[in-house]
Amino acid sequence: MAFCPRCGVQTHEKTCALCSTPIPPIPDLPWQPPAWPRTSPEDPSMVYPTFLQRRNQAFALVTSIILLAGMILLAVDVYQDWKLDWSLVPLIALGSAELYVYFIFFFYRSFLWITGGILGTTALFLFLIDAADTGQWFLTLGLPIVSTLALLMIPTYFIIRKSRRHGFNVPGFLLAGCGLFCLSLDALITHQLTGQWLLTWSIIVTLAILPMGAYFFYLHYALRREVNIKRTLHL
């Protein structure tokens, strides 16, 4: 029987199953049938497509639906007066939808890539919509809202990830992040409308959210695992 020059194990096969090293052939070795039958169409065992194959198929399907919708829009619009008119906004929306799907399908494992991709697409979508219309609100409202969202989401994610124990502190951090975002959103909108940095509705929202977040932090950090809940609550 032949030996694998790398592992030193004996084998009948052409390559070593352990290290994939080609096995040097021995000329006068009697033929041995393979240990397992070869794959054949008659094999009743089911082989499913891999996750990557299914993902690519799903992406191709979604892309073709978006392309079809875009072509119909374009055809209907151009057919009327041979000019790109009302279809511009839905075409921008369809293009953005395609980018969203791309980032979700291909970067779902990396938080930074998917967040960057989705927020970047959102910023691009807002910029194009604004440019197609009046070109007044993207720099003063659209971009600051997206940037604030990015500045809050990324640190919140890293704080959650770096925390030693994951439990009630996760909804606590998420609620704190939501509260801060509401405050920033309110301030940006009020500034756009009135020219003053004022907080209005966000105070009520934050006052409702923050105690809940604080309660989650209390549950997580004050009531540690060692605490006997029955004893604490006199049950």
Partner: protein
């Protein structure tokens, strides 16, 4: 008109109840034991032998039927047929070939293989069935009566206790709860697509392995468990740059309870003990690991501890809230519990031990192989079986990566053990 009598049915055993709820196209719950003979298999003779023995094993000729609260086993199936072997064992069949039987007999060249669902039986029950099939096959082929000592032959009346849920017999009420375990290291490589199951079998001489284990002062199972922990440590050390969370390695070892609580049951009757190595404490030498494993197994193989584990499982089934939950809700929760449970160990090492056939015809047999069920949660598992002086070590994996097997067999090689490898990977 005479009303049609309902088909006889039986409940699943305590362990078997879990499997119909958790099995899917990735986790089929089928494991496999095969016998390689010295002559090529004749399909017709094998079918005749199977038809002959099925009345004796009528409790295996069942299908899974969902009830309102639990799955049940219903005995209304025709005789099973023989299937040609496949490159991907223990995998679901394509739709036109779907078979409601919970086991299948396959053949290839000189090999007869039994693939059987864990819902029906464990390794011991499957082995008893396969032994009878091989006996019947050889008797049919040779056309002469063969020695049937230790074989459950079709002529014998079956013992009603063969289908009992033996866990209930040894259940002891009022035992304290089992201490929960932490999560274990999980092998991180990407999984293969569903329906792909890679097998690597290593054959080693039993006497040499036994002598090697004895020099370390441990049994074969302990020695192989220690080798596996050593290989996991070597694997982890190569991955150190990409590993994010340090968790201990934990290998689950199924234990045949018939050795502790004699029972003729052919249903599931096993429990598991964990072997653990905490890599956060530093690098362990192989000798340190064997010593640790040996003492740990000695401590864990305690009848009282085993009873405690069984009490937990039986109480889970008898819990009044669990009992009244409809099946779809039970299955939903069981899937979650099983997934959580799988994260508590890295892999499993199942040793069926030395298999013996009657002396008169054991020379017809070349060897036996045992393949663990495919699992996406624990992507690599090891099964061991021994016959004569051939010990078969089979890794079943749903990964492309073979580093763990490489470390394992290379370690055995470095200890002076000759290893012969075969696999189901097509190489050309």
């Amino acid at each position: 008109m005479k009303p049609e009598t309902p088909a006889p049915w039986s409940p699943l055993d305590n362990t078997g109840k879990l499997f119909p709820s958790i099995q899917n196209h990735r986790y089929t719950g089928f494991f496999r034991i095969s016998v390689t003979l010295k002559d090529p298999i004749r399909r017709g003779v094998l079918q005749d032998a199977l038809d002959l023995i099925m009345p004796r094993f009528n409790f295996f000729q069942v299908r899974m039927s969902p009830g309102l609260f639990w799955y049940t086993l219903v005995e209304d199936l025709p005789l099973p047929r023989i299937w040609p072997d496949s490159n991907n064992p223990c995998i679901r069949f394509k739709r036109p070939f779907r078979d409601p039987h919970l086991f299948r007999i396959r053949y290839y060249d000189k090999r007869i293989a039994l693939e059987i669902s864990h819902a029906l039986t464990d390794g011991f029950g499957a082995l008893e069935f396969l032994k009878t099939l091989v006996w019947a096959y050889l008797e049919e082929r040779k056309n002469q009566p063969l020695d049937s000592q230790g074989i459950l032959t079709p002529g014998q009346p079956s013992d009603p206790r063969e289908t009992e849920d033996a866990f209930l017999g040894i259940y002891q009420k009022g035992l304290p709860k089992v201490t929960p375990r932490s999560q274990a290291f999980q092998i991180p490589f990407p999984r293969l697509g569903a329906g792909n199951y890679r097998i690597i079998t290593g054959e080693v001489p039993t006497d040499k392995l036994k002598a090697l284990a004895q020099t370390q002062g441990c049994s074969i199972t302990e020695f192989l468990g220690a080798t596996l922990l050593w290989s996991l440590q070597a694997l982890k050390e190569t991955l150190h740059q990409i590993s994010k969370h340090e968790k201990p390695f934990r290998i689950m070892i199924p234990i045949n309870l018939r050795k502790f609580f004699p029972s003729p049951t052919l249903r599931n009757f096993f429990t598991t003990i964990p072997l653990e190595l905490d890599c956060r404490l530093g690098h362990y030498d192989f000798e340190e690991i064997t010593k640790k494993v040996h003492h740990f197994m000695k401590a864990e193989l305690d009848e009282k501890l085993i009873r405690q584990q069984i009490a937990r499982n039986v109480e889970g089934e008898r819990n009044p809230v669990v009992r009244v939950l409809p099946l779809f809700l039970k299955s939903f929760f069981l899937r979650g519990i099983f997934k959580r449970g799988e994260k508590l160990h890295t892999m499993s090492l199942s040793n069926l031990g030395v298999v013996e056939f009657p002396q008169a015809w054991s020379e017809e047999i070349q060897g036996l192989d045992f393949i663990p069920p495919p699992s996406p949660h624990n992507p690599v598992n090891l099964s061991v079986i021994s016959f004569g002086n051939r010990l078969s070590l089979t890794f079943g994996r749903v990964l492309e990566d073979t580093r763990l097997e490489y470390f394992f067999f290379n370690h055995l090689r470095s200890l002076g053990l000759p290893v012969t490898i075969s696999s189901n990977q097509e190489s050309d």
